[in-house]
Amino acid sequence: MNGRKPGPDKAALALLDPDGSFIERLRQDHATLLTLLEALGDGAGEKEAHLAELRRFAHRLAGAAGTFGHDDIGEAAMVVEDCLTDGAKPLPIHSIDTALGEAGRLYALLDRALKQG
């Protein structure tokens, strides 16, 4: 364990997100991430485009999740983004593999957050 909070403090979240719209956003992000991972796993279509989309997705989630108290999700999203922001083009295989592994971990964290409500 790394000591990070598994999710936001309930009282704090009630102030940050009084109408619960952020948890709904996480639900949509959960589905979006699954779609992206499946597309990348299939190897079909534009792999570069899917990776760029995954990077944008992780970038947005990294900024929002931490602000709403989901530190673990925010930090996992940052790791995904960093793996996909390697200066080299095309991205090295090991960076892509690491990013996909971290994206899988991010998906698990989203899953857990949704189950915890």
Partner: protein, 256 residues
Amino acid sequence: MVNRNIAAWPPGGVPPEDGSESFTISRPRILIVEDDSDISGLLLRELATLGYTVDRVELAEEALLAATATDYALLIVDLGLPDRDGLDLVREMRRLLIEAPILMLTARRKVEDRVLGLSSGADDYLVKPFAIPEFRARVAALLRRPARLRDNRFHAANIVVDRDSLEALVGGVGLPLARKQFQLLELLVRRKNHMTPKRMIEETLYGFNDEVSPNSIEAHVYKLRNILKSAGAEATIETRRGIGYRLVLHGGSAEG
């Protein structure tokens, strides 16, 4: 009223009646430029709770329209906008002489990104994720910073507008102004000798959701012009048809 893509809070803006009630000074108005609705919604709630009037847009082009038409006290700009890079937007705003302080929001964490943001014309930089108390503190600091926001007395010839006492004076004598007339005079005095677009006046006097009748600005100007003339003001409101209005100081006035 002006831009349907701008969401404003509180809805309805200032009370609609002019003259019958005691007026209050308008609250500082802040523009949020952020395409992540969760983040912008959170900021909007926080700022509204603190008593600010808040407008929210998602696109850089909408932000430019709003910021050129409205005298904002603060602009909060996300760097990752869908239609344009936020750095470009900030540079463009400065090129257009939009002087309001700018707080940049971004998820870019590198030092060089922050330096680039500040050198493009932003006044401060907040990295996402951020804690709300830090956001509040930075907003408060930026609103305190410019001298022009601390100076609440504006002069033009023998006209003085005092935002603290809510008084307008000509030659030291108070003017009997209704709320919107006061706001109009303040705007014209602050922009003395510069053309003030009619649209900017509308944005200052009305909330985005207020209905504005076609001749309401003309009516306010007409009444204010007569009040200034009767009081012996050494300045006149000049009309540029189809463009706007300008407070022109008379020849003997030293300032410009």
